[in-house]
Subunit: 246 residues, 2 copies
DNA sequence: CGCTATTTTGAGCCGCGTCAATACGGGTGG
DNA sequence: CCACCCGTATTGACGCGGCTCAAAATAGCG
């Protein structure tokens, strides 16, 4: 078993207190828009979780809602198990993104979140966070902004009708989010198996395969197992919007 | 035609300042969990919009985000217009529900909201509301709760696969929300045309017709134009969950 | 009482899910 | 280094649900 790069025992107190101040993601994350003193107050309530591996859970559905989480590295998947025991994939989460926001209302997590590869996340104890938000208007505003952004991002899910549209929209969405976070917006490494993509898009895995194949044949993408290079993002973007292509 | 309960010309100042205190929906709405003094402070920033009619807009996509809105009576529809000029229905909003929550992040409304029948809504100027939230922890918590609830409610959209499942889930969702708000949970008056239902569920209007017909044939519902009576909610609930029926 | 929007009903077709078989790749042990 | 195994991914054949196109029935409205 490989050594985990961020295991909590290896963190000294000083490191622990510099979580947000030194994090390259702070511009995208909770601290955005706060001044130095405010970020340091935020630091004092944030912890970095130890490095997690494939299949490790950040939390599970039904867990009491103590914290929200900010992804630091790797990729997470959120999902539900329905009455028949089938998994339903809700979304994928990249560094800088928050998870657990849907748990504030009923005070319990509504979905489970699991690492798709080696990954880590910050832990933001919600009680302390919201107390701090009462003191710091900028923090309150940012939390509401992030909640609101989450709502906006969830809305367009149902829109695209055909398998090709959904796949194109999925790739473009992922590319955009990776690009916003400083990663390549054309060379994607999908951490999840086809089954998860299919489940997320409400398609069969076979359909995902076929559509990716077709995109490759069209010269729009280059597929090598879980590595996907976008050769013609415009074509994909066009497809995601309207259905006028073949 | 019944007198409109909330036309602004008929409201005197005292009435205007009693919006939340006297509102029967306050238990479901923003003031929930606040004490009397706090509700009165909230009162001071809330206005009741005048009565609106079919086709009147609460706001349109792109409008600067000045307020969020709480439905007082009637039903509203939120929608987007995509690049081809086609409408895409996002959701329907009942009394006690908030709309405009997705506009906090980019500071502009992301969708348009229009009255489906005679309807009215409260206007909550967001700047004043969030300032108040900094003072009143209970208010901050409630706003976050409502934002979080909105996220949770958006998640299951993509789940149901077949037309019958989606239709059943739609009816049950509407019935539940109406029931929570003191209306009948079995006698539904759909304010929207079939086209909107179809659009919302990503179905053809013909399919909506056929599915309603089938539900009626099964003895599960009774359809009289836009009035729908649920005769066997359990059957519908079962159908919405799994696909084991015919 | 005619006009128009909405809803319903019917016929035919196509996309995508299902089932089944094959190919690939990465890990393990000899 | 190769043989083997198993999970993931691909490819093909076929059937069905729901969309499209077309037309009739019904309701609301001037």
């Amino acid at each position: 078993m490989p050594a985990s790069p961020g295991q909590s025992s290896a963190l000294d107190l000083r490191e622990l207190k510099r979580v947000c101040s030194n994090c390259s993601l702070s511009e995208l994350c909770v601290p955005m828009g706060l001044n130095r003193a405010e970020v340091e107050r935020l630091d004092s309530v944030v912890e970095v979780s130890r490095s997690m591996h494939v299949g490790d859970h950040l939390f599970r559905r039904g867990d009491p809602m103590r914290s929200i989480y900010a992804v630091r590295s790797g990729m997470y998947k959120s999902y539900l198990i329905n009455e028949e025991g089938e998994e339903q994939v809700i979304g994928f989460h990249l560094p800088g993104e928050l998870v657990g926001l849907d748990a504030i209302y009923p005070d319990a997590h509504q979905c489970s979140v699991v690492a798709l590869d080696t990954a880590s996340a910050c832990v933001l104890p919600f009680a302390q966070l919201s107390e701090l938000a009462g003191d710091i208007p900028g923090l309150q505003r940012q939390i509401m902004r992030l909640l609101s952004k989450e709502i906006s991002s969830l809305v367009p899910r149902a829109a695209d009708s055909t398998a090709e549209q959904r796949m194109a929209a999925f790739l473009m969405d992922l590319a955009r989010r990776l690009g916003e976070r400083g990663y390549s917006a054309t060379d994607l490494r999908l951490a999840m198996p086809r089954k998860d993509i299919a489940n997320y898009l409400c398609l069969a895995t076979e359909t995902v395969s076929r559509v990716l194949k077709k995109f490759q044949t069209q010269g729009w993408i280059e597929v090598d197992r879980r590595d996907i290079r976008l050769l013609d993002p415009d074509a994909l973007g066009q497809l995601a919007k309207d259905d006028q292509s073949d």
